[in-house]
Symmetry: D2
Subunit: 344 residues, 4 copies
């Protein structure tokens, strides 16, 4: 079988992970990479990538390419996807496509016109824990679904400079949970009520964001989901999900460093959760990419498409509006909603 | 030491539990009991209770009494507490005092005037799991508190005839969770947002109630609590709590029938949670009563007083209003709120 | 139904537990008790026992008695059982009947002649954990049984004065595990290999005993059991069992104080096991007695009879011989074995 | 830094794992490989190995080599190690070096003379669970060590043809547990008592082996270890360890497929252990090799040397003798013991 030729745009932390994972796969070749920084260019060259450039356009021009993986800063995503799509390249793009709903719709329209396969990097969908829960739910193990509960807490807040660009908690962090809320029970969200506070660090409040949140989602069939978030869990990355239904309940727990149990006169001690997403989702990043490749090879739908990105963005924007106005917000209100960027 | 003389009004399921527990305590005597039904009267006589009557007034007149335990139907609570308080008897009353806020305030005013010690039967406060979590939280084990999560699901819905009188899910079931939300972090609630649905049994909807709910509480300091309820958890009584804070998280799990773990080629199996409140809170009922007795003997405050009942009722009424109007409701709005009884 | 009339000989720690449990049962009456110490006599009188004496003979003569519960020191057991049996009283006797195999056989012969119902107080058989494991094993949940693993560690060593009289670790502590090894898979032991050491306290070695042991039992069908013991587990009473078979494995874990889980940057903490047998087996003591009463009322076999005591004693004696001679010992060798008392 | 040049002898299941792991390491190059089978040769060529041969001698002659990894059949190990050592190559050899004690001593003498670094593939030493337990034990977390408990059960028996060559259960399977028993508490074994049976498959008994075993090890300081083995655990690969000491106990549990918990009216279900060593020890194989490479680069001792192989073999031979003669066997008896190969 002909090997798919991959190019990577952006070799930051996530870009390097995708590069390393792609290099271990037998059915693809990484033929090009781009990054403005020399350190990243050297990294790619050392790994044997033949064409390494400092601009996206140069990379596309450097050799024959089938698929582009976009891991560059968020504000380049939409442009890069457009350029690649117009040249007929398939695109794997880290989330989000863009923080502006209008721009996202524009890009998705173009993607549809070109017929390329766009995959959005919702890595948690490929985590064995979430997959197992979804599998049990869809097999009917818990009957009809009534409630989803998602706990998602980071081990520490990002720098404020990041938050100012990211769109804030709902758009850079909760957006993953919004996606899982849709994914895990295969339902669409109709209404959002978000409540939040600045409890971790007042600097986060100063830039108009919150660091602690509770969000109630109502699906179109009237069932509900609850998400709780914190930017700082002292004990590590807390990623749990629970689905309750008419015939039972299924949940997935955190992945711990190891299974040891120590018992002394002082108490019984176990390990903490894996520190952050790089550790917790290391395998998920591999599966995500190999599942995407499989969908390219087999002509089957990608496991996380542009609409998935769009819906999560809408829920995020509705959450921002809900928090600002302290009222439940319908997703349909978001269509006319233009300029939400942050909370203030 | 002089033994306190107890009388019990109402010998249904809970009344019998209190009677049996009191009979095992060395520092009290059960001197009287009342119940309109002969079966219950026989039960008390067989246990050696000397004065057994069919009316509350007859019971109070039958002998010298220090303390009255009220386990009769809800609509008698307020009247019985008043009668007993006027005669200077201390009162242990099962929750709720009444479904009408106005009536509760009236009774509590009288209680205050008489100086008797009124205890409300919030049994969960005495469960070893909730007590342990509260103790760790108050010792600062998790630092400043940010989030409370309470899961409270019954194994099966009560008959609709009960629901019609009870005030509905928020007032007969969630009211315990409202109390735990206040108790576990020692904070007052300021605002409520409730979302609910009829997912278990449409008959419950027909009488104007819901059977599944998600409630977001905001405390006066801006921190939050989430409660999720269902009238029917197929796997038994689900009673969990989690408190998240600046330095960590503490949670308490369900109590299982036993600790066995069975591993076969089919999977790994464990026991389910204890079936319902009689099993789960058997020890809590004992501790509740002995703690009350201790507060009577030592002249210390009762561990769950009239105001605790009042606050939980207010949160319940605010939840009803929130659900009806689909908006967050401040507790202060409830003061002028007159006639909420059910959802329709 | 006529209520069975009970008398208790010996009101030490265990005797008081049995007395309190009997007093809570509706179908029996405690009519007499004996103990040489005044404190214990007062305890019984305070609980309403009508006839309280200081000798066994006086107690038997004091009133009409159906059943005698023997909780006096071990060296009185055999004599008291004989006296009671000769008078036709049923007997519940704490283990062991005696440390001398000859004497035990003598007493059991008499018991058989008189036709009374003798129950030996192997309380662990009535623990919900061990019962659940046995039930699953006997239902075939793990197929044919291959291996039993018993962990049994006390939180602290008894005084040396106790050890000198008790017969040592194998006869006062492991004897419970020998019984569980027979009970849990319903098989007889054929051979024993015991290995031990003095690791906790050298004083225990000075009186000829060990404090740490590993015992391999071989059942008559060639399958095996392993027991490990320590006199001192820093983290509390460690009582676990595991049965492995052709179709799977089942195990029971320790009972913890509560189910809390605390997560901080320092690690994840849980509660320790319940401290010792009084806490862990509180419910088992009740079930043990009510099951015995039920067998008396229904004329069914007692759930732990004289032969159960005899077999465990034999395994204990074989363990002593095995340890002394550092070789596996067949149980049949024990028939000719006369005078083992301790290890030196 | 100069990259170490590796050659692999034997590209069966384990050989391929080592090859793939080496190819992902930046500080080594795989320059040669050998295997008599064409499929394996093609595998190596496809992975970019330049020199692929069908004999060990040809491989050594094909290019410049620093380190040889031996994964060929057991009966070639000793010869290959000798050839490689004489040529000054470092050697990583899968266990065991040989089933004959005499031959092992011979090879180790040669290794010592040549000064090459021989590492034995005791992969479990590199498992995060066992490492964590060892780390806690060596830090004194449980005080003085009293007891080690190792549970080691395979998901299914190997073909009888394998067993006939492998030396049987004690030499092909328990040998890993013997190594862990030494490793985890850093102590030497003095005496062995082994008990076994044929309970899984009578065919195993026909070739003179057992499939179920219980082994008691006594360390030179009088403390003890217990190992239990089965060739067939219906629920998967069961690999647990527990160490008990004067100040506490530490244990490591099985690694499960995922952390899901499903609760229905039928019970509560979790995932089973990872199926077998390839899954459970996938990470350990990587760490094992990178730790070996580190010791080569830094000139530090290898983490599992020839003596570790020798000691485990001795314990295995003592176990065979113990089982045959049904008595405890001292390790010092094994020096004169010549011809044990299997149990019959």
């Amino acid at each position: 079988m002909k090997k798919l030729k991959f190019a990577l745009a952006g070799l930051g932390r996530i870009g390097k992970i995708h590069l390393d994972n792609l290099l271990q796969m037998n059915n693809v070749r990484v033929v090009a990479a781009m990054d403005p920084f020399e350190e990243s260019q050297v990294y790619a060259k050392d790994k044997g990538v033949a064409n390494v450039t400092s601009t996206f356009e140069d990379m596309l021009a450097s050799t024959d390419i089938d698929v582009v993986v976009i891991c560059s800063p968020t504000d380049t995503h939409a442009d890069y996807v457009e350029i690649a799509a117009k040249k007929g390249k398939h695109v794997f793009c880290e989330k989000p496509l863009d923080l502006s709903l209008e721009r996202v719709v524009e890009v998705l329209d173009l993607v549809e016109d070109t017929g390329i396969k766009l995959m959005i990097g919702f890595n948690r969908r490929f985590d064995k824990e979430f997959k197992k829960v979804k599998a049990l739910v869809s097999q009917g193990a818990i009957g009809e679904h009534h409630l989803v509960k998602i706990t998602s807490r980071d081990p520490g807040a990002p720098p404020v400079s990041y938050i100012e660009k990211s769109g804030g908690l709902f758009l850079d962090m909760t957006i993953h949970d919004f996606d899982i809320a849709r994914f895990i029970v295969d339902k669409e969200v109709e209404e959002v009520y978000a409540k939040g506070a600045v409890l971790v660090d007042s600097v986060i409040g100063d830039v108009g964001d919150i660091d602690t949140a509770v969000i109630t989602l109502t699906y179109t069939d009237g069932t509900m989901a609850i998400i709780d978030n914190s930017r700082e869990a002292a004990y590590g990355y807390d990623q749990r999900v629970e689905v309750f239904g008419s015939k039972g309940m299924v949940k997935a727990e955190n992945n711990l460093h190891d299974s040891h149990q120590l018992f002394t006169s002082q108490g019984s001690q176990r390990s903490l959760p894996l520190y952050f997403f790089l550790e917790r989702y290391a395998e998920a990043y591999k599966t995500e990419m190999s599942d995407y490749i499989q969908s390219l090879e087999n002509g089957t739908p990608v496991p996380a498409n542009g609409n998935d990105g769009l819906q999560s963005l809408k829920i995020g924007l509705a959450s921002i509006m809900s928090l600002q106005e302290n009222r439940p917000v319908k997703l349909e209100e978001i269509n006319q909603f233009q300029s939400i960027k942050m909370l203030k």
